[in-house]
Symmetry: C2
Subunit: 701 residues, 2 copies
């Protein structure tokens, strides 16, 4: 169901409207009226006849016409019965301001569940409960009890915190920033961030979607929606709150390393969401996106009237991977025509401390004419003859005439003397930042978003897999309530997805072992096989590099002895004799089930890289080939795979394949809740990758 | 010489004073008069009789009395002769505003050198040339051509960029931030950041020293002065500009890794300097230091009227290593007495959206009474009944009555509706930040500074060393112009400083090799010895783990063959037979000579940790024991030394000893411009460390 009834109603009822100033039911009615809402407004309150000059009804049922939107402000316990009436009046959406639901404990949660059920039945979309309401400046309607009505604009803000919402609206007005839609999500009983983001995709009055979230309601859907919407307009999110849900006892590496924020980080990366770390950053970014075109490349020209800030901007560019545009000789020649001899004609262009508006204007004009320039930052410090206001006008003037759209960012630094200039820039859609570093950061975010927008992402290729075999295997294990798959069975699962595993065979006794090793060829690896032993190394259950029959015989007996000493009751099935993979790098691929997002894939280099340096990357399944490539490039030790210190590069393509196969596997079989391929041996380029050891844990339902 | 004549003159002459409005010589005279300077002012200009009602002199020589401070605004080429006159009038300091010196090229640089020479001879201190001037609000005197006179305050700002200075003064006034002294350094011909920082140490009108620097004049002195001054008052620095001086061709690991910013980073850490990354951070921090006491510990209480911002603050604390104070049960009981039942009584304390000033006041009072609280952050979002101004008053009221000094930081979030409250807080010395993250960051910086202030740093213990032997060795090599010390000689240097090296002896032929290995005991290491071979590994010149006589014989011949094949012209002295150190970790200690700071020491773990992960730390020599300890703790892989995965911890104390010995060595012998101890083998705790291989390069003069 569309959210049109919520965002663009033609009529609205305020159930619980009040005459008493200061009451929420009064404020909301006031806000709707003052927002110049053009549809019919129906205050509902059995105790009053007229509020703010509007006829007041005893019940929504008394209203003659059907109603689009109901804003409900009555105590929580009465909400259910009112919803019945709403149904009769064909209400499409209800904003439930009332508290007393999930947020107050068990009883409230029950009430909320009943509410959701009823709303679904009736086909009424619910915003809230326990929320501040909704504002749509393009309708216009302010169906919230926010003390501030924002200016119209093209930035939408979705807030999981009502109080933060009031702060932001207050601040946006103060900063002259326009808002398209404001939504306070409250308890998210029905309408969530996902619904709002999806709705805003096709909303022409909104260019930029911003949100403050403490969590998401449906992780998989969140990724699907955002990765679609972010191709059309930027989504900027502040995510607060470290979920401790992920912190429950875990036995896998992946689980331990995933920690609290990993799944959110991964999902944001996969969906093209721009993560802001503070509300201030959120709006700094939003402001730039809302008003400026995207840069077509990453080459910036910096114009400044002071050396120091020019250096600051240059430093910030270097840190952010933004290049200073190399200007055409023609551009430099033209600059030399009018800039004083002491000026710097190369980027950053220093127009000198005595530059007036005219000098700035000519410089901007010249620089905009250079094909090598993808974006311009204009820095101004107030010196004796500086003309901040006129300079602002001059910049705007030049941009007007410019056919090629190049983003322009201001950095007028100072206090009272530059405020008028800054205001002029803002009014004309040019964002201004206090300090060069913030200007560069905003530009960086734009460049990254542009890369995302232009990224080719095809759905990943489907690998052939013997799903039936795995289905059968899992079904049996689940039936037997044996959820931890031992190596032999786990290897079968990998094999079914065509992931290479070393040659190996189970030996029940030492003679069998000698025969198997003979066939495989030395050197071999010995591994204890027992359903009761999860961590083989800890009990002396792994021995690598067995070079000869003599060594094999000795180590076989030793292993049995060691394991029995550590775990006298272990149910030992035998010892696996396995091919030893040589000339390889050890990597790890893991799966951990995130409560919000489902199966999350981890990649890292083996051993201390994972355990001590925690140098790993995460993505939510399913992943694309680009995601897999990024996962590998993201780890700091990637250079070891690419070939460092004269070594041959490793077969990175084969890692990508395994990552994609695992991604496909965990989507096919959601019952896989943990998996560690540790190590995944990666041979040199073109030689493939082999899963050295694997553990799989299935969920209990 | 003290800078009193500069900062607190009793008389001032403006040489080049002008009647013409807009001219620098006019603005400065104006500024001195308008700043209510109480001493005598003498405008000097042969072409005018009276300026601003003051008698104007043809020359400073015509002034009857002696003069403290001369502000020189005449063209650069006339400055020298004017300085002669200044000498006759016993001028103590001169601010040279004039440009035309080092900044314009060779000729200017020559002029500047003459100026410095003359000034030294005359005992006149010089600020500039090519600077904006100086302001001291506590004198008061504004001897600058800044368009803005700041409010008096206790923060001093030293700027290497004049233009940035004008921006900052403009902004400080706009933000109502008081300034004690403002200094524009200009070309730093004489007076540098070092002089100013040293002077400000005993200046009671200044609590916080801030600076914008693009470089320092004398690195060693900078560290000495700042580490002394920062024990008395915080020094906050923005350092801009990546020096490319360090980028010249280097052959050592240390040099390559040091890059541009490493020396500055190291020097700041060693001197207790608080590094701000932007001018905004600089003043955010300064504001808090200037007005609030230092927290005695790192436990903060957060009071908020909204959940979201409370979570943001909590997240930020977690990221910054700040703890949320665990409140006394008594405190919680008291909170329960007056807070509504739905409030959160545990930290972060949520006083709920309907909290008025009274509820905030009681909460602040209660929290301040809890011994577990080292600092308080008060968050306020403007909701229906919120009273920002009254709440600000209430907070100030509570702080007044508080005997234990606890820092209080405001985070009133919003626009117009909270401005009056914020202004009240600021007027009363309580800083306010727009967002919780900034409040937490400011607190974090205070906590770190407090740790620095309380850090015990004794001068490092002197190790016994055979300096004579090293002196003789170096003198010979320098005389022979053979600057790269081979392993045998470099080992002698280490030995002279009592750094353990493996047993080893040079073998000229294979029979000698067999005898030596017999004495040392297998396994041994073979290393080619040749003055022409710098990187032994590259030519097959190192072989480890030789287990037997047979292997030795084979590898000895092979190595000679390999090396001759790669480098047919190499001058081979023989092969070193060396004890093989077992059960150890490989680390690296390096020395690189920084052009600003002199010898810089690097520490890291060997192999890929240094080469691929670049996981290293730096300090400038000489270092203290605490510095050495910090260097080790700073690397990400430190856990490998402390003992991970069931391994025994390494002998970290012995690494500290070697670092201190190397520090002492490079101070004793500044001719050492590069050194790599690679690897330094570190055995398990108590077993010591052994320098496996070492290279030393001496400077050519």
């Amino acid at each position: 169901m569309s959210l049109d009834s919520l965002f663009c109603p033609s009529s609205v009822a305020v159930i619980g409207a009040s005459r008493e100033s200061g009451k929420v039911g009064n404020t909301i009615l006031n806000n709707i009226i003052n927002s110049k809402f053009e549809g019919r407004i129906f205050p509902i309150n059995p105790k009053t006849d007229i509020i703010h000059g509007l006829k007041c009804y005893n019940s929504i049922l008394e209203v003659a016409q059907d109603i689009d939107l109901a804003v409900i402000v009555i105590p929580g316990k009465h909400v259910l019965s009112v919803l019945d009436e709403c149904y009769q009046k064909k209400v499409g959406a209800a904003i439930i301001i009332s508290a007393g639901f999930k947020e107050v404990g068990k009883e409230g949660a029950k009430l909320e569940m009943k509410l959701v059920k009823k709303a679904k039945e009736y086909g009424i979309r619910i915003l809230g409960p326990n929320c501040l309401g909704m504002i749509n400046t393009s309708q216009p309607i302010d169906a919230s009890f926010s003390p501030t009505l924002p200016m119209p604009g093209n930035i939408s803000f979705i807030s999981q915190s009502g109080a933060l919402g009031t702060s932001v609206l207050d601040w946006a007005k103060y900063a002259n920033m326009g808002i398209s839609k404001f939504v306070s999500l409250g308890n998210k009983a029905d309408i969530s961030e996902n619904d709002c983001i999806a709705y805003l995709k096709d909303d022409d009055s909104c260019n930029v979607i911003t949100a403050y979230l403490e969590g998401v309601k449906d992780g998989r859907e969140f990724i699907n929606i955002c990765s679609e919407v972010s191709k059309h307009k930027p989504i900027i999110v502040v995510k607060a709150g470290n979920t401790s849900a992920g912190a429950k006892a875990v036995s896998s590496h992946t689980g331990t390393l995933a920690g609290s924020g990993a799944a959110y980080n991964a999902s944001f990366k996969q969906s093209g969401i721009i993560r802001a770390h503070t509300i201030k950053n959120l709006f700094d970014y939003a402001n730039t996106f809302a008003n400026q075109p995207l840069p077509k490349g990453k080459k910036v020209a910096i114009i400044t009237n002071a050396g120091g800030p020019g250096i600051m901007a240059t430093d910030a560019c270097e840190l952010s991977g933004i290049s200073l545009a190399a200007l055409d000789t023609e551009t430099i020649d033209r600059l030399k025509e009018f800039l004083p001899a002491a000026a710097n004609f190369y980027n950053p262009i220093d127009v000198l401390g005595d530059a007036g508006a005219d000098r700035y204007q000519k410089t901007v004009e010249t620089v905009l004419g250079d094909q090598n320039v993808d974006a311009v930052i204009v820095i101004l410090t107030p010196q004796a003859v500086t003309q901040p206001y006129k300079t602002a006008q001059a910049i705007v003037e030049e941009l007007k005439d410019c056919t090629e759209k190049v983003p322009m960012i201001g950095c007028f630094m100072g206090g009272a003397s530059v405020q008028k200039g800054i205001q002029y820039l803002r009014d004309k859609g040019i964002p201004n930042y206090d300090i060069p570093e913030s200007a560069v950061e905003a530009l960086k975010v734009m460049i990254e978003y542009n890369l995302w927008k232009n990224r080719q992402s095809q759905p990943p290729k489907k690998f052939k897999a013997d799903k039936k075999k795995v289905r059968k295997l899992f079904d049996r294990r689940i039936k037997e309530e044996r959820y931890n798959l031992g190596e032999i069975e786990a290897r079968k699962v990998l094999k079914a997805y065509d992931i290479a595993i070393p040659q190996a065979k189970l030996a029940k006794d030492v003679d069998e072992a000698v025969n198997i090793a003979q066939n495989i060829g030395y050197p071999v690896v010995l591994k204890i096989v027992s359903p009761t032993i999860l961590h083989k190394t800890d009990v002396g259950g792994i021995k690598v590099g067995i070079e000869s029959k003599e060594e094999l015989v000795e180590e076989f007996e030793q292993m049995l002895w060691d394991v029995k000493r550590y775990m006298p009751d272990a149910n030992i099935k035998g010892i696996l004799i396995q091919e030893m993979v040589e000339l390889k790098k050890e990597t790890i691929i893991g799966i951990n089930n995130d409560p919000q997002f489902g199966p999350m894939i981890m990649f890292g280099l083996g051993g201390i890289y994972v355990e001590v340096l925690k140098d790993v990357s995460f993505r939510i399944a399913p992943i694309t080939r680009e995601d897999a490539q990024e996962m590998i490039n993201e780890i700091k030790a990637v250079q070891l795979l690419k070939g460092s210190r004269g070594e041959q590069p490793s077969d990175i393509e084969s890692i990508i394949d395994v990552l994609l196969k695992i991604s496909q596997m965990v989507i096919d079989f959601p019952e896989i809740i943990e998996m560690d391929i540790n190590p995944l041996f990666v041979k040199t380029e073109g030689k493939g990758a082999i899963a050295g050891d694997v553990r799989i844990r299935l969920g209990e339902n």
